[in-house]
């Protein structure tokens, strides 16, 4: 038996390691560095109905143990993703989790409906938490009623399980988590980035052209752990955790907090081989910590949370 395997709605994961959306493109560049079939799954770049060219530059800035980004949902649009990006990934034995973004309920619904029919898309990650676009993204994820309605509408048209990606930029993330569970979400992915900013000491102006951006990297790990812990105690659907993971201990810690699998974001920039390394290092570290299997650890954590 594969002690790293995890079974989630729509997803048979060889292991709990998934590159996070926005940090891996559609896998092309990383496929030159290692075999993508080793991954648990791939969360591809957010896809909108039409192609988007994103925000002005600079779009990234470094921060202590982290970074800010304000890419602005640049992507080639649904048609191109269906025509070239997803077929490219079909050569690998790896489930794709399609990240869907939009600027209106109609757009989310349309993208969900069509992208969920792509043969290698095994789940949708509904991006209601992008902090870097006006009018779309996060505005759907900071109000419980709106999040509920959008989840319900997208769930109805999706032919694969629907995971909703939550924003940490809210007063009470548990309220939003409960709302999307009620709306029919099959799972939750969390957390998206925390809104932050940096200024240039010479120009006295924000470094990012967008003024603010999303903070990611090791700096946000404790925030992610806290929120995953809270949400896992409040809902019964599974959580794919993300936020600042950079080593194998972080992976296990996040699962202990209540995640059933984890996504790796910023760490791919620091070390493009990180996902491969984490998959290779997990068994040894599990031996040292006397963890028999990931699914056992998940079960144990769930019992603790739900009695």
């Amino acid at each position: 038996m594969n002690r790293l395997a995890v079974k989630l709605p729509g997803l048979d994961l060889k292991n709990p390691i998934i590159p996070a959306s926005g940090c891996f493109g559609f896998g092309e560049a990383f496929s030159e560095l290692y075999d993508l079939s080793i991954l648990g799954a791939i969360m591809v770049k957010a896809t909108t109905l039409d192609a988007r060219s994103g925000n002005p530059t600079p779009r990234v800035a470094e921060t202590p143990s982290g970074m800010l980004n304000a890419i602005g949902l640049q992507n080639p649009g649904l048609e191109e993703v269906l025509k070239t990006k997803l077929p490219f990934l079909s050569q690998y034995d790896v489930p794709v989790i399609a990240n869907v973004a939009g600027f209106s309920e109609e757009e989310y619904v349309e993208v969900c409906r069509r992208i969920s029919k792509a043969p290698n898309v095994k789940a949708i990650e509904l991006n209601i938490s992008c902090p870097n676009v006006k009018h779309g993204g996060i505005t759907f994820g900071t109000d419980a009623d709106t999040a509920y309605r959008l989840t319900k509408a997208c769930k109805e048209v999706s032919s694969v399980p629907l995971y909703v990606k939550l924003s940490p930029n809210v007063t009470d993330i548990v309220e939003i988590a409960r709302a999307v569970e009620k709306g029919g979400a099959d799972g939750i992915t969390m957390i998206n980035t925390l809104i932050g900013m940096r200024l240039d000491l010479k120009t006295h102006k924000p470094i990012l052209a967008n003024t603010t951006g999303g903070l990611s990297g090791p700096a946000i790990l404790p925030v992610a752990l806290r929120m995953i812990y809270q949400v896992s105690h409040a809902v019964s659907i599974p959580i794919i955790g993300m936020g600042g993971i950079s080593c194998v201990d972080d992976v296990l810690e996040m699962i202990m907090a209540g995640a059933s699998a984890v996504a790796i974001g910023t760490a791919n920039f620091t070390d493009p081989m990180i996902c491969k390394k984490l998959i290779e290092q997990l068994p040894n570290r599990m031996d040292e910590l006397k963890i028999s299997s990931i699914s056992h650890l998940i079960e144990e954590t769930r019992k603790e949370a739900h009695g």
Binding site: R59, I71, P272
Partner: protein
Amino acid sequence: MRVETMKLISKRELIPSLYELVCEGDLVSEIVMSGQFVDIKVPRADLVLRRPISICSVDKEKKQMTLIIRASGNGTQSICETKVGDSLDVLGPCGKGFPIDFLKKGQHVLLIGGGIGIPPLFELAKQLSLNGLKLTFVFGFQSKNQIFYQNEFEALGDVFISTDDGSHGIKGSVETILNSDHFNEEADAIYACGPKGLNRMVNHRYSKHPHAYISLEERMACGIGACAACVCDKDDRSGTNLKVCEDGPVFKCGEVIV
């Protein structure tokens, strides 16, 4: 492209805070064009972004490459503090370099550089010189004490220098040299790399030239085309952009908006 632990073979400070690092490893055999770059992991856990550094010269037989790095921030400072014999975590080679295949022996090539933008022009110049081309260099520096690699370039062609403060060569910018009456601007190919102002000037000045190229710099995260941080807009009213790390860093003049 690969991620490799490369050994630091030698290091010297060319001018204050400007270091020449020679690294050795198999990655060097994959470098196919001058103008490509490598992405170096900062040897500090709190700095999460790699630093894109242009390749200054390549010795494929020795599996060595030379990088010139200005220790201008915490990251580059930390990379430059690496001791000879220790290793650097290097991703590369990244990006597309300077196209040269169209050039024929005896033709004239103009190479324009400014400050820390000059290093990638060195490997290019070495290759062009081996191919029997006549080279003219126009370089801009802040002042006399910022000049580096002058002898190395003078061995390959005619070198014209401008300084902002007039402490060496012509007072002004590279544009002052290009605009001077006696200067021969006619060239079969033009290559440039420098700060944004220089790149913008060259991009505009030679936008109609059939073989003029600039190498751009932009804040990057992944360095391999995955994150879409380092984009520049195409100059064709299409509303689309190109990635400096993957589609560049070298672009044809007039192709993108600088």
